[in-house]
């Protein structure tokens, strides 16, 4: 996989960011998210009137003796957010100018990973090419950020990506509910629908980051060309003129719009980025504007 740059000096721009609170979190001792919930937690917060259905073990009988009314004790609960990241490192991601798509995907993953690690979220990371690479999990705390960067830089580029199978394996290994960030160009022969449905079936909230380059829009293609698929090695002889190129771009746009529409339909997050974008701008503005970050 081509190396990518990730400047530590840029981290200060990510310090104020955190994942949105409505993303389902897991209960944990070291969680950074405080939730008011009766009967759980260790730190007392308040009383409230008893309502049928409350655990009777939380009734404060001393207070009942003085007030002749039933009150239950309310404790403050701490939760953490489980974030999984799947980065596509197939050969189709090894295109792009000025940076490759896979490099930009890794930079974004590092940025989002820093945001999650700095907030004490639990992070699971894996790359996938033809198959899923070993999952780096769990990562928690900023101290694990170098491990994450090393993992990404050492991930091999796979010939082709099987998104559905990789999502199934990843969700099988990381069973916690939470946010699943998919960074890919989604130019997979099998399609993305099944993979996304599978992830949602595991209870994952999805952040789909589609990384595209100008070459995916047919830039630089004209005349009689023999185009070769970078992943499968298959080729076609195509004569490309303006009309053909316009139809091709319309198809790509429809494909991307279909992906975005599916995400909107199921309440998932979708972000499309270009290799011409800087990853900090992507994280701080594009992804933040999708309300994943706050």
């Amino acid at each position: 996989m081509p190396p990518f740059e990730f400047q530590v000096n840029d981290l200060h721009r990510l310090r104020g960011l955190s994942f949105a609170a409505r993303i389902p979190a897991m209960v944990g001792v070291e969680g950074s998210r405080r939730v008011r919930r009766s009967g759980e937690g260790l730190e007392f917060m308040d009383f409230r009137p008893y309502v049928p259905g409350d655990d009777t073990r939380h009734i404060d009988w001393n207070l009942y003796g003085r007030m002749r009314q039933l009150f239950v004790r309310v404790f403050e609960m701490q939760k953490y957010l489980s974030i999984g990241m799947l980065v596509d490192t197939s050969r189709s991601m090894c295109f792009g100018e000025p940076v490759h798509k896979v490099a930009l995907a890794c930079q974004i993953a590092c940025g989002l990973g820093y945001v999650s690690l700095s907030r004490g979220e639990r992070l699971s990371l894996a790359t996938f090419g033809e198959s899923l690479q070993p999952v780096l999990s769990p990562l928690q705390g900023v101290k694990d950020l170098p491990r994450m960067i090393d993992y990404l830089q050492e991930s091999p580029a796979g010939p082709a990506s099987d998104l559905h199978e990789c999502v199934r394996q990843f969700c099988g290994q990381v069973r916690s509910r939470g946010l699943l960030v998919l960074l890919s160009d989604f130019l997979v022969p099998g399609g993305y629908e099944e993979a996304l449905r599978l992830a949602m079936a595991y209870g994952r909230k999805l952040l789909v980051v589609q990384v595209l380059d100008a070459v995916d829009w047919g830039e630089g293609l004209s005349g009689s060309v023999k185009i070769t698929d970078s992943e499968t090695g298959g080729g076609r002889y195509v004569y490309i003129d303006e009309q053909t190129l316009a139809r091709y771009r319309r198809r790509v746009e429809d494909y991307c719009e279909g992906l975005a529409a599916m995400c909107r339909t199921y309440g998932q997050y979708y972000v499309r980025v270009s290799t011409k974008d800087h990853y900090l701008e992507t994280v701080c503005h594009t992804i933040r504007s999708s309300l994943v970050l706050q």
């Binding site: 189709s92 130019l187 005349g223 198809r251």
Partner: protein, 621 residues
């Protein structure tokens, strides 16, 4: 098929260039893309099956090569045979020169018929054919018939006449025969060159000249005329190609030779005098040797003219001046009668009346020269004492031609002229010489020519010095000839063929006069006003007309000056200057040009359609 611009085929060298450019232009550029996910519907897979691959690969190239070849084909201006139905007009010259015999024994007409049959064999069966015979008058023998057999039959039955052709009228007649909007092609078969110029007025028809015959030396009789002042015949001989040869002219009366002469031919025309004694009205034959390719003009026939002597009757009681003056004319036959013995009905050409007596003038009914006498005129004249001389006269009048009447001295005028006289010369307002018509008309134009004129000298010969003057015989003979309506022209011994035979006779006669052609056939003459005519005089020979009991012979010859002209061969293809290149817009190549342009446009459209449908994308590197 011929090519007007064969050098255009050098452009075929562009075909390899086109192939190279095609291969270069169609060369594919290998490009690796992230995914072929969206390219599946475009182009052709590299490892896919190659159905009709070669055809698809070559189709574009073939279309371009065909297009280039068509353009080169058009630039080469092919002379493609016209497949449109056409109207073919054959104009065959049947003039006298077409009887010229070539070295192979065939006449030019036979050669022309053969040329026409070859032409018929080469045209499609749906061609309409018109046959025009170009004789002295053009004649349409067949008009727009598709039957080649009928045309061949009429064509082979053509015969040459002894006349000159009028090719101009024949070609104009041929050009006027149109069949709808069919293209008309006129083929003029003749030994005459130059019919192409006849239609140089931009007519839409196509005129083709087919010349027959070869150049042959020829000599022929051009003109026959009686010798002036000597017995015999003057024969004019025309020639070409025989300069320096000696020619012999024989004059035959029946089978008997009555004269001959030999002369050396010099220049285009040679005049030969043949002494011969021939009786008036005798038919004679003139034969010229050596024989040549055209025997027609080596024989001529003639009818020796009757004597042109004028019978003059002098009515006088004795006048030696008049008698001597009339006898001085060698062609005058004088008869002197006394007034009491004069019979106006007796045959005479002219009556000269001297010293009119009472009652004599009224008996004059025309063709007379009258010298009025004093006191005997119908009107009593005046008199004068001093000699008179003419103060005016008509110098152009035949009576006073070459005469100066002012030199005459007239002591007194006779007077007593009848009404309606026209003065020819006069003193003051008194006529000295006048003419009068018995029909009452004063002018010669209104006078009945059959009655002749009456020339009146208004004085007595005894009262003038005119008889003593040298001009007296002249003015007297002028008056006699004018009064008799005779001309000084010698009657021709022969006429040219195609001249109209004409007879004067009673239109209401029971049976028309007949004419016997040289072939022996007898035909009734045609009535035309107060005359009888016969138009078909296209054969050389002696025509005999019979009117009542009168028989008249007229010789007709084809004395053609054209026969002495050299044969001008038409410029052949090798001699012709190179025609201007017809080009794409020349009318004669309109059809191929349209076809080629259509094919080129079709090829261009096909190329565009194939390109748009991406069929050409299915090709191989």
């Amino acid at each position: 098929m011929t090519w007007a611009r064969p050098e255009a085929f050098w452009l075929l060298l562009l075909v390899p260039v086109l192939v190279v450019l095609f291969l270069h232009r169609r060369r594919t550029t290998p490009i690796t893309v992230p995914s072929l996910l969206f390219w599946q519907e475009y182009g052709r897979p590299v490892d896919g099956p190659p159905p009709a691959l070669a055809l698809h690969n070559l189709l574009n190239l073939l279309v371009q090569v065909v297009l280039l070849c068509l353009l080169i084909f058009a630039l080469a201006s092919p002379d493609m045979p016209q497949r449109r139905r056409e109207h073919l007009v054959l104009v065959v010259d049947t003039s006298a020169t077409m009887q010229t015999v070539s070295s192979d024994g065939r006449t030019r007409l036979q050669e022309a018929i053969g040329r026409g049959e070859d032409l018929l064999a080469g045209v499609p069966d749906d061609t309409l054919i018109t046959l025009v015979e170009a004789g002295i008058l053009p004649r349409v023998r067949l008009k727009a018939v598709p039957d080649k057999g009928a045309v061949r039959a009429v064509l082979s039955a053509l015969s040459a006449a002894d006349v000159d052709p009028d090719l101009h009228e024949a070609v104009r007649l041929a050009a006027s025969i149109r069949v709808g909007d069919w293209p008309t092609r006129i083929v003029c078969i003749s030994d005459f060159v130059g019919t192409e110029e006849l239609l140089a007025n931009g007519n839409s028809v196509t005129l083709v000249q087919e010349q027959v015959g070869v150049d042959s030396p020829n000599c022929g009789i051009v003109e026959l005329a009686p010798a002036d002042g000597q017995e015999g015949l003057n024969v004019t001989i025309g020639q070409h190609g025989l300069d320096g040869r000696r020619a012999t002219v024989e004059v035959l009366a029946g089978q008997q030779r009555v004269g001959s002469a030999t002369a050396e031919l010099k220049g285009p025309l040679t005049s030969v005098h043949v002494p011969a004694e021939l009786a008036a009205g005798a038919v004679f034959t003139v034969r010229l040797t050596p024989e040549d390719a055209l025997p027609l003009d080596n024989v001529a026939r003639g009818v020796w003219p009757a004597s042109d002597r004028v019978r003059v009757r002098l009515v006088t009681r004795g006048n030696p001046f008049l008698e001597q003056a009339i006898r001085a004319q060698p062609t005058a036959s004088l008869q002197v009668v006394r007034p009491e013995a004069w019979d106006p009905g007796a045959p005479a050409d002219v009556t000269v009346v001297d010293d009119t007596e009472p009652g004599l003038f009224e008996r004059i009914n025309g063709r007379a020269v009258v010298f009025m006498s004093q006191g005997n005129a119908p009107n009593q004249p005046g008199s004068t004492g001093a000699p008179l001389s003419a103060t005016y006269w008509s110098p152009d009048h035949p009576v006073l031609r070459d005469i100066d009447p002012s030199l005459w001295r007239v002591r007194r005028l006779a007077g007593g002229l009848p009404d309606g006289v026209e003065s020819l010369a006069g003193w003051q307002d008194q006529p000295l010489v006048c003419q009068w018509s018995p029909s009452g008309g004063a002018s010669s134009q209104s006078t009945d020519s059959s009655l002749g004129h009456v020339v009146i000298f208004n004085f007595d010969l005894a009262d003038t010095d005119l008889p003593l003057r040298p001009a007296f015989p002249i003015v007297l003979w002028n008056a006699i000839r004018y009064a008799s309506s005779l001309t000084s022209k010698t009657p021709p011994v022969a006429r040219r063929t195609s001249e109209v035979l004409e007879l004067r006779g009673e239109p209401a006669m029971a049976s028309p006069p007949t004419v016997e052609a040289p072939s022996g056939e007898s035909h009734p003459m045609l009535r035309q006003g107060d005359r009888w005519v016969w138009l078909d005089t296209t054969r050389q020979g002696v025509y005999m007309t019979r009117l009542g009991g009168t028989t008249r012979q007229v010789a007709m010859n084809w004395c053609s000056a054209r026969s002495s002209m050299p044969y001008v061969p038409m410029a052949r293809a090798a001699d012709e200057p190179a025609p201007p290149p017809p080009g794409l817009l020349a009318s004669q190549f309109a059809l191929p040009w349209q076809v080629l342009l259509g094919l080129t446009l079709a090829a261009g459209v096909l190329e565009w359609v194939l390109f748009q449908r991406r069929v050409l994308d299915m090709r191989q590197v």
